[in-house]
Structures are given as C-alpha cells and as structure tokens.
C-alpha cells in the first residue's frame, strides 16, 4: 500500500505512515462492525437452537439490533459508584478493549496482508492476550463491590490457568512450523497431509487442536466456562457496577477476543488464509475469504457449545486446566519435539518452506542432519 500512496506524490516516509494508518483503520473499523454483527449472529444461533426467533424487529431480519443496542448504551448515564476508585474504574474498560484490538495487528489476512509482519508474531499474540486479565482484575478491584471482586478473582485464576496449557500447545505448533511468524506458520501447513492444508490433519497435532479449542473457550470466559459472570452466583460478574458504553466495551472486547480465538484456531491449525485442500482451483478464491469462512465456522462452534453445554463448576474448571490439559500438553511437547528430532524434520524443511530464510531470522545451516 506504501507504493500506492507514493504514486500520489508523497515522500516515502509519509506514504508509509499513511499506509499504516489506513491499514490500522482497515483492521479496527471492520473488526468493530464484525463484532456488532457477530453478536447478532450469536443471538440468532442461540435462539434457533432454543426454537426461538431471536432478534427480528430492528431492521430487516433484526440485522440492526446490535446498532440499536449500541445507540441505547451510548445515550445512557455512566454511573461511577461513590465507593469506586474512579480513575481505575474508567481505565479498566479502556485496557480491555485496547488489548482486544491490539492482537489483530499480526493476524495475516492473506499472503503478506498483515499490519506488522514481525518474526515473533505468535509470542506477541500470547503476550497481548494475557494482558487482557488486567482489564478484568482492575475492574473487579476498582468497583469496590463484592460480586465484581469475586468475579475478578475467578477470572484471573481461570485465565492464567488456561494460558499455561495454551502456551505448551503453541510450542508444539511452533516446533512443527519452525517459526513464530504467523505467515510462516500458515505456509508450513501447505499440503501438510494428503493435500490437506492444516496441522489439524496431523495425528500428533489433532489432540492439541481439540485442547486449544477448549482452552480458547476457557481463556475468553465463554460458555461453558463463563464462571466469571455466572449470573446465578455473581450477578453480572466484574461488569456489575458498569453502565453505558463502559459496559458495552467489555461486551465488545469479549466478542473481539472470541473472534481472535476463532482466527487463531483457523491460522494455527486450519491453514489460515490457505484453502482447505491444496488444489489449484481453490486458490482462485481470495485468501481472506477462506480465513473469514474459517473464522465464521469456529464462531458457529463457539455458539453451538454456548447453546448446548451446561456451565462447569469452578473446581471442575480448575481440574480440567491443571490436572488434564497441563500434563497432556506437556507430554505432547515431548512427543512432538521427539518425533521431529527422530524423523530429521529440520533437515529438509528450511529450503522448501522459506525461500527467503533470513526474512524470518532463520539459520539455514543446522547441526542435526546426519
């Protein structure tokens, strides 16, 4: 895009700056629109599974429901409780929403269509998504109210518990792809097993994908792991004292995080912007369309689970995270790395996968080849 702005007569620096701003807006604004629409989709799917009609009044088929809700909360009064720590109380939703937007900077939408093509992209996603816990904890603390405080405690313990197993799962993916760059990870999945683009077809990585999907639901506090806002126990959780747009920001941030998890599922295990099968005719469809289709597919799974699976108890949640996912994902780190070493995976990978190894900071000369 930089070269396009240069043809308009800008210097290189200004063209780059304008292109970056345009790229950011091209990610942030459609993302917010997508979040508004995906809330509507979620409600529709949920309603359909309960044999209801869902939102159908505002606009055709109720399509404008989210925007009507948005306008309503925008015009509401922002209530700041007198006992609250006011500055922290207002900063918390800002943190949550900022972090939810930030992680999208490294998601590749097509070959090379990524805002920041950094070589530690996956590490960046992990770092940014773990910052999300601050928004929740600060909200719970600053509210100075009982239920938000309990909810914040739960949320912090739940998020960090599942982050551990997510970290180990990502290490397995990185081992196989040989890079943290998300574009390189997508390319490493090309024609992985029998023409299938995606690590999911790999018997060693398939169980990891299942764990990643479930951990993703727990990490985003999505049903059946929505214990942080279990309405029968904690009113509305850490959002109890919030109103107006500050309340809506949590809502938006939560759905942006769910979409991010769907995008990560698609990118890390289902080939990202690659078509599902490595057949030339499928490459005629643009890559971002494949990615969006995969994100939507995973969102449908998230909705489906929300509509059908009863909520976990907190002890069950912690048991699943610490006693099942953590040991199993740790075992898979050993298995995957051992398998890759035993089969000399690192000897033939570099030349074929990375035509320009230096770009991803790789060292071509390696010491493991016989």
């Amino acid at each position: 895009m930089t070269s396009f702005f240069q043809t308009l007569g800008m210097t290189h620096e200004w063209a780059w700056f304008t292109a970056t701003i345009a790229g950011i807006l091209l990610i942030a604004l459609p993302l917010m629109l997508a979040v508004a629409m995906i809330i509507y989709v979620d409600r529709k799917i949920w309603a359909a599974m309960a044999l209801r009609r869902g939102p159908n009044v505002v606009g055709p088929f109720g399509l404008l429901q989210s925007f009507a809700d948005g306008l309503k909360v925008f015009l509401q009064e922002t209530i700041i409780p007198s006992a609250a720590n006011k500055v922290l109380f207002l900063i918390a939703p800002i943190i949550t929403f900022t972090v939810a937007l930030m992680a999208w900077a490294v998601i590749p939408f097509n070959s090379g269509a990524v805002l920041a093509d950094i070589n530690v992209g996956l590490l960046y996603v992990l770092a940014v998504s773990s910052l999300g816990v601050y928004g929740v904890v600060i909200a719970g603390w600053a509210s100075n109210s009982k239920y938000p405080f309990f909810s914040a405690m739960r949320a912090a313990a739940q998020m960090i518990s599942y982050e551990v197993s997510i970290g180990f799962i990502l290490i397995c993916v990185v081992l196989w792809a040989g890079s943290f760059n998300l574009n390189a990870i997508v390319m490493a999945q090309k024609d992985h097993v029998w023409l299938i683009n995606g690590f999911v077809a790999n018997p060693l990585l398939f169980p990891l994908w299942v764990m990643f999907l479930i951990s993703g639901m727990a990490e985003t506090a999505r049903a059946p792991f929505d214990l942080t806002e279990a309405e029968s126990e904690l009113v509305a959780g850490y959002q109890t004292e919030y109103s107006s747009m500050a309340f809506a920001l949590y809502w938006l941030g939560e759905y942006a995080n769910v979409l991010l998890m769907c995008a990560l599922n698609a990118t890390l295990f289902f080939g990202g912007w690659l078509p599902p099968l490595d057949i030339p005719v499928l490459y005629l469809v643009p890559g971002w369309l494949w990615l969006f289709a995969k994100i939507f597919f995973f969102f449908f799974i998230f909705s489906w689970v929300k509509a059908t699976v009863p909520r976990y108890r907190y002890d069950q949640l912690m048991r699943l995270g610490w006693k099942i996912f953590l040991p199993v994902s740790l075992l898979f780190v050993v298995l995957v790395s051992g398998w890759l070493m035993a089969t000399h995976h690192f000897c033939d990978a570099d030349q074929t996968l990375y035509p320009d190894p230096d770009h991803y900071g790789r060292i071509v000369n390696n010491g493991v080849c016989p």
């Binding site: 609250a84 070589n119 405690m153 990185v174 040989g178 809506a248 048991r319 610490w322 953590l326 900071g361």
Partner: protein
C-alpha cells in the same frame, strides 16, 4: 538483526486503539451531561448488594488457593518462556539441546507431581 521498524505499526495501532476506547468511555459521559441523562443520587451510586446496604467491606479475605494458582502459574509460564526460544532453535542445537530440555522438563514434572500430591491443585 531484528528490524525494529516492523514494530512501529503496532505502536501506532496502540495509540489509535487507546484513543478509540478512551473516546468510547468518555464521550457518553459528555453526552449524558448534554442530554440530561446524568442524574446521580446517593442510592444510585452505592455499590450493588441485592437491594440492601452492604454488610462489610468487599475487599475482604479471599481464598488462599487463588494465591497458589498464581504462584504455580509463574513457575509454568517461566518454563514456557524457556521453551519458546528452544522450540525455534532446535534445528541448531540438535540432540544435545533436546536432551537438555528433557532433563529440565523432568525436573519440573517432579515439582508438578509434588504440588499435585500436596493438594495445591485441589478445589473441593
């Protein structure tokens, strides 16, 4: 050599995202003043407690197990921090690197088994 200019878009994104979220929080406050929706009273501003005044300070004691989880998290997240560079340099370090990491993991597994045995992972 790491090209730090790759990270500049992220910094700009951070500024824009913060501005956007701050606008979302503070604009409605201003709008509420203008439309007259801003009408705080003592009852409205008290903390939520199912319709009656709160009995006690909400920032009271909480279960020590949340602490334990946080401590365990630090251990295992640090472990993951060691695994990340190992994972992308396995082609350079080869078998010695692999065996070293396996020894490290084995030590951590012993610690994990100890925490399990001591009941640090139990939530009755």
């Amino acid at each position: 050599m790491v090209d730090l200019s790759q990270y500049l878009p992220i910094l700009i994104f951070l500024a824009i995202a913060q501005g956007l979220s701050a606008a979302f929080v503070f604009l409605p406050i201003g709008v509420a003043y203008l439309t007259g929706a801003h009408k705080p009273d003592a009852e409205k501003l008290s903390e939520y407690e199912c319709g009656f005044p709160a009995f006690e300070d909400p920032r009271s004691q909480f279960d020590v197990r949340f602490y334990l989880v946080a401590i365990l998290f630090i251990i295992f997240d640090l472990e993951a921090a060691f695994l990340f560079p190992w994972a992308v340099s396995l082609d350079v370090t080869g078998w010695p690197g692999w065996i070293t990491m396996m020894i490290f993991l084995a030590e951590l597994v012993i610690g994990f088994a100890y925490a399990w045995k001591k009941g640090a992972l139990e939530w009755e």
